[in-house]
Amino acid sequence: MLELRNVQKRFGGVTALRDGNLSVSAGEVHLLLGENGAGKSTLMKIVAGIVSRDSGSMLWNGAEVFLNSPSEAAAIGIAMVNQESLLAPHLTVAENIFLGREKKRPLGWVNRREVIEEARAIIKQYGFPLAPEALVGHLSPAGRQLVEICRAIRHGSSLLIFDEPTSSLSDTETQQVFRIVRDLKSRGMAIIYITHRMDELRQIGDRFTILRDGAMVHTGVLADIPTDQLIRHMVGREVDHIYEREHLTPGETVLEVRDLSTAETQLRNISLKLRKGEITGMAGLIGAGRTELCRAIFGVDAITTGEVLLGGKPAHIRSPRDAVRAGIALVTEDRQVSGLALGLPIAANMTLANVERISRFGFLDLVSQNKLCTDLGKTMSLKAASVAQGAGTLSGGNQQKVVIAKWLFRQAQVFLFDEPTRGIDIGAKTEVFELMSELARQGAAILMVSSELTELQHVADRILVMRQGRISGELPRINGASPSQEQIMKLAVPESTAGNKAA
């Protein structure tokens, strides 16, 4: 039905896809597997007409096609259910299903009753628990996924792409999505399914294709291959190339979290210690509460019970300002949203958390600012014309360096890194790890949240695992060897799903 051969795509200087191959037939669930940055999303965006390919071919029912927009893809029967839903929260379920595809009538008149009835028919056909009149903004993440699915079905798709549909769903909701996927499959639809959750592969998939570093490395029938072999293909043999650092004996405890719970973000009884010179890894699935823990320590979200101690004394952190003053740094997972002032120069960003250091009585010393920032940029091998260059013009890796530089300039002692390598290329990743190691060597206490297990295995001195708002376990290095991915995943996967292998 769908056949991709030697598809290539570059974004600026970065090759996202070198050799994308994929073959999908009607009536199957085809898993697309690979690590973050392997090119899965790019390949799917090409199939869905969101980005165009540079070279290679795409055959649809045997004929070469070139899609320039999602609506062209929709016209031939390809639709994508997005990971982060692209719906209008203030409109109803029915209105969202038909958004942009309303029946053409004189004066653009919309017959509300008719729209609702048509939506109700689709919902009923698949037995979804949705009310067509409900506002999308009031739905759960799972409900929104269902609306996306309805949208896709509504224009008669024969190929549906699911991009990590269960990453933000609960167990029961996940099972619901699986039921729907199986139902769609039994109706002869082809389904491409992207997932990172090893525990759900076999519940849903028929065949699989693995991408690594922008190229297809393996494809076949899922039943024929054991899971460890799948993982080996995904990670690749060059595991040892990623990064090796010397693991030092940690010093005294700098920051301690005691029995911390939050109301809104549902963290439960978290206790942990961050020690001088140590990189503590933090693993867990998306939604396990890792980012929320960083936010709670940093004073963004209120702590309901428990406390944070710095150097053995209660820290009383009620705002990010308190945290920064106490010497804590947070490198957020989304640097464009909460890390950088993109419109301002590099120097302004580097000094943002410590303008006091370059000012006297409120007046800035721009000469020393530029000198300090230029030096800092040099030690970090920042690639920029000058520190006056806008931060928004830098590559992802260099932007991340500026964010880290901001906290170096603040001379922070505790660093919370939330997904520090997200969206940056492999070379820059190594440089970020080197910076983190150097910080540890100089005596900083570091918490490193990452969804990439190989990174944690290589960089972290020990790994904490979170599951559903709690710390589910701690895995130390034993004789220098890091814990295995299986050990980590076992602690990360929700217990109910891990035990539930019924198809």
């Binding site: 963004v300 705002s319 990010p320 003053r325 002032a341 419109g343 303008v355 007046f363 928004g392």
Partner: protein, 312 residues
């Protein structure tokens, strides 16, 4: 070549100002006279002073729609102080303090209630204007000492006094924006508020401070206006907020925050001042003036957007 055209585009507002100046000198024999230029300076001084304050507010990503009303209230209370027999300097100071208080209140409401500046200052626009009308019973304050006229109409060393005031204010605001912590924080808050909070910047404090500074400059503008009219008018300054915003925007300020400069704003205010003066001299009707100025605002912002998009 590439760099040249970029520089040219960046200088466009300034070049347009010069072109306008030269054009008007040729078109009208009355334009390039000391009298006329002094009157342009006096006319634009009020908007200019307000616009300087608006520049900082807009850089933080905010807006103050109530400045017209603040101008009226500050001018009125300042004039009342003069009527009560206080010296000119004290009267002016009273006006500035009233303006500062109004701006401070705006800032406080915005940061405490967490309501968008647009809404808070839209409400404040009505409140301050109403307060001025209640306080004065709707009647202007007339009995002002003649010495007060010096503020708006007098001259020092052959240069209108308002121009001195404007230059001093402009230099101060420029220094604040480019060379102080407050200015740096204003840009940071406007460019990325979340990142600013996460960097430990006291965002609420500086946001409030910025509105208070905007109010102070508006209070001063109110006293200039009162001096030029030699009355404290409770209705003074109606619609001025749009002029001030327009000057900032023509000068390259972005309503999304993080961008703007004193020089840009001054150029923007002078372009508008020259357009209206030129239209008067060339006998273009007041009705058409509004159309022309409105078009210039849209044109200027369009050109600026094109420049920024290319720079990306």
């Amino acid at each position: 070549m590439k760099i040249d055209s970029r520089l040219l585009q960046k200088l466009l507002p300034f070049l347009s100002l010069i072109a306008l100046f030269i054009g008007l000198s040729i078109a009208s024999p009355y334009f390039l006279t000391a009298n006329n230029l002094a009157s342009v300076a006096q006319q634009t001084a009020v908007f200019n002073t307000m616009a300087l304050g608006m520049t900082i507010v807009i850089i933080t990503g905010g807006i103050d729609l109530s400045v017209g009303s603040i101008l009226g209230l500050a001018g009125l209370i300042g004039a009342m102080a003069l009527e009560a027999g206080y010296p000119v300097a004290v009267g002016v100071l009273v006006g500035i303090i009233v303006g500062t208080g109004c701006g401070f209140l705006n800032g406080l409401l915005i940061t405490r209630l967490r309501i968008p500046p647009f809404v808070v200052t839209l409400g404040a626009l009505g409140i301050y204007r109403g307060a001025a009308l209640i306080l004065s019973n709707g009647l202007p304050v007339h009995r002002i000492p003649p010495a007060f006229a010096f503020v708006g109409e007098g001259s020092l060393l052959g240069i209108p006094f308002v121009l001195w005031l404007l230059v001093i204010c402009a230099v101060i605001v420029h220094l604040v924006l480019e060379h102080t912590r407050l200015g740096r924080y204003a840009f940071a808050i406007g460019s990325n508020k979340i990142a600013s909070v996460y960097a430990g910047i006291p965002v609420d404090f500086h946001t409030t401070a910025v509105y208070a500074i905007g109010g102070a400059l508006t209070g001063l503008a109110g006293m200039i206006e009162a001096s030029r009219l030699m009355t404290g008018q409770p209705t003074a300054g109606q619609g001025y907020e749009l002029q001030a915003i327009a000057a900032v925007v023509i000068g390259g300020g972005s309503l999304n925050g993080g961008e703007g400069s004193v020089v840009g704003t001054l150029i923007g205010a002078f372009i508008m001042g020259l357009l209206s003066n030129g239209a008067d001299l060339l006998n273009i009707s007041n009705y058409w003036q509004q159309v022309i100025i409105g078009s210039v605002i849209i044109l200027a912002v369009t050109l600026d957007e094109v420049r920024k998009r290319r720079a990306r």
